[in-house]
Subunit: 204 residues, 4 copies
Amino acid sequence: MADNIVREPIQKRSIEKKEKIIKYGFDLICEKGYYNTNTAEIAKAAEVSTGIVYSYFNDKHDILLEGLKRYSNSIFYPSIDFINDISINESNMSEIIKKVISEFIKNHKLSQSAHEEITAMTHTDKDVAKFFHDNEIETTNVIVKLLQKNGFNFTDLFERVHIIIGLIDNICHEVVYHKHNSINYDTMTNIVVDEIVHILTKKD
Amino acid sequence: MADNIVREPIQKRSIEKKEKIIKYGFDLICEKGYYNTNTAEIAKAAEVSTGIVYSYFNDKHDILLEGLKRYSNSIFYPSIDFINDISINESNMSEIIKKVISEFIKNHKLSQSAHEEITAMTHTDKDVAKFFHDNEIETTNVIVKLLQKNGFNFTDLFERVHIIIGLIDNICHEVVYHKHNSINYDTMTNIVVDEIVHILTKKD
Amino acid sequence: MADNIVREPIQKRSIEKKEKIIKYGFDLICEKGYYNTNTAEIAKAAEVSTGIVYSYFNDKHDILLEGLKRYSNSIFYPSIDFINDISINESNMSEIIKKVISEFIKNHKLSQSAHEEITAMTHTDKDVAKFFHDNEIETTNVIVKLLQKNGFNFTDLFERVHIIIGLIDNICHEVVYHKHNSINYDTMTNIVVDEIVHILTKKD
Amino acid sequence: MADNIVREPIQKRSIEKKEKIIKYGFDLICEKGYYNTNTAEIAKAAEVSTGIVYSYFNDKHDILLEGLKRYSNSIFYPSIDFINDISINESNMSEIIKKVISEFIKNHKLSQSAHEEITAMTHTDKDVAKFFHDNEIETTNVIVKLLQKNGFNFTDLFERVHIIIGLIDNICHEVVYHKHNSINYDTMTNIVVDEIVHILTKKD
DNA sequence: TATGAATGAGTCTTCATTCAT
DNA sequence: AATGAATGAAGACTCATTCAT
């Protein structure tokens, strides 16, 4: 047919509208799930007509992807900039790791449902998976560089960091969602901190 | 919804029918995703009528849950019975862990799509999540007991094992799905094995 | 997706339903035009739900095509069986042709809107066009054989008949739809009859 | 609908705009079909905004009608002016008719899709039908006058010409669109020419 | 005059669930 | 107990037309 051409908004008000669709659409998707959110709801939440949604996006899936681009970083990776100003060494390492973990947990709590839904789609949707994985590598790299700046020069640093991120992710999930009564989170956190220290200090 | 009275099949042939619906329904859901599988397909795959499905299940969701109950163990946790016959000590620990990891990876590969879909739903569906988490605790307990039998008596053993399971899970995903080119999986595995050993040997 | 499988109804009532959809759907399409008839209307006219329409047909277009198969013959070509029992010769030829023309006109009048819409789609829709053209050839052949049985053995009989059908079609349209005030239809018919006689009597 | 006040452009540039909308709009409609062409496309092709379209036209349908007025003659009736300079008599009649037919065919080929679409709409759209039929009468009259100038004075000349136009139209369609393998077009053309001669020469 | 963003009713189609047989 | 036909609400998406700027 007419090959529905997606318009790029130029006027300020239009840009705001597109942005609102992404924001509220993504919010809804995260809150209620992709399949449980329909375009009419998204339009309503964004205070636009259903038609305009299709002026700016090819389809519902596109809104999800744009939302990811805009917000995933803030959802998945909290600012750990504070490390930039500190030189990491064995004596303060534990403290820093603890702080990082608590930042991650705080971050997870803030956007719990978003985190859940996106993690879910990572296992189901190719585009989301790709985005997510690329992001993961990027974050790993950022941390690798940070550590290198602080004198960590292991040949397998990338792998070490990747494992560390996994450890932190796991404990976050544990604390934020699982609510396993049988688990003592403080104890668990201490072990994880210990392990991360171990990973970062053992010889090549 | 709940008005529908669900029958519990008594006759042998009926029981088989219910079982087939669960098996083939769950298969399809794992393969194509919950939202992309419809009840007509499930009925067809199970060689029953669509009507009969609603004699045995309240709704589509129920089929998923029943499938989980039947099959999730074999999907998520491979048989590690071989450890039962071995006494674990510091000298053979590395080897055993390596074996366990490779068993997990093998297992993941066997039911990749099932694993993906269920993991996804864990983040979206309360019932699935509860089921999954209960399962996790159970598995942790099994391993805890196994280790205790082998003389591991840390007070925080449960937490240690929980972290270990997380580490193994992460590396499995990495190997089976991610295909991050920048990662050397052998190196990563070695680090993980090392860490697990570390977790299991450090003093209380 | 599920490759929407089209069911072939087996039960008597279902067959009737499918038939009703074709009948009333085709009626509506002929009456209001293909693009001005929606599936909801068709379903309503056939006294079925919208869903059932898609159990028996792939889409709206399919209904049109099935309608064509069922009804086009009766729309386009009236029964001219009465010729079977008569031997055509130069002395009765004019009378027979006049009778045929009046049959065609009567037929056209009966299903005016159907005729219009289908003729229209012949110019727009490939499937309809193919169907229509195949039909045309078939009809030509039937008449050719009829004439041969009556001793008409021109080498170019097929072409002659094709032209004759065109002439009859044209005069039908003229009489039934055009309403050109300036045209005397009796006169016109007489000329056409004369021409057909001429076509059928001139030497090879 | 009719509430919309349609402006008649006065400025030169505005007139050009309106003309462009008609030209490109009509082109698109002929090419892709009325229902498969949307106003956005028309506006784009005419290099105007969608809004302006509704300053000059009541609706999409109007564009079609205006297009018809402007271009239908060139689509349906080729220039047969060359006859003006020749006096038609029995000896050159066949040649002239052959030439006319080939002109018609050439013309059809040039604007095949336009011809198709408009013919289609003639059967569906009242306005188009009226326009088309008026046109037909007009053309018939032109030819009638031409023949009268050449001494053809049959009382039923109008009807004769009308039939002739029908014959020519039919063979054009046959040649340009149908592609019936079983038909020999040269043979068919010869018969048609013969018939036309017959029509034009037989006594009143 | 002109723009093109915005509207929202309308379209086709799917599918969980029910029900007549 | 079983069938599978039938339902109809709901969803994604389109587009003629209007309107704020």
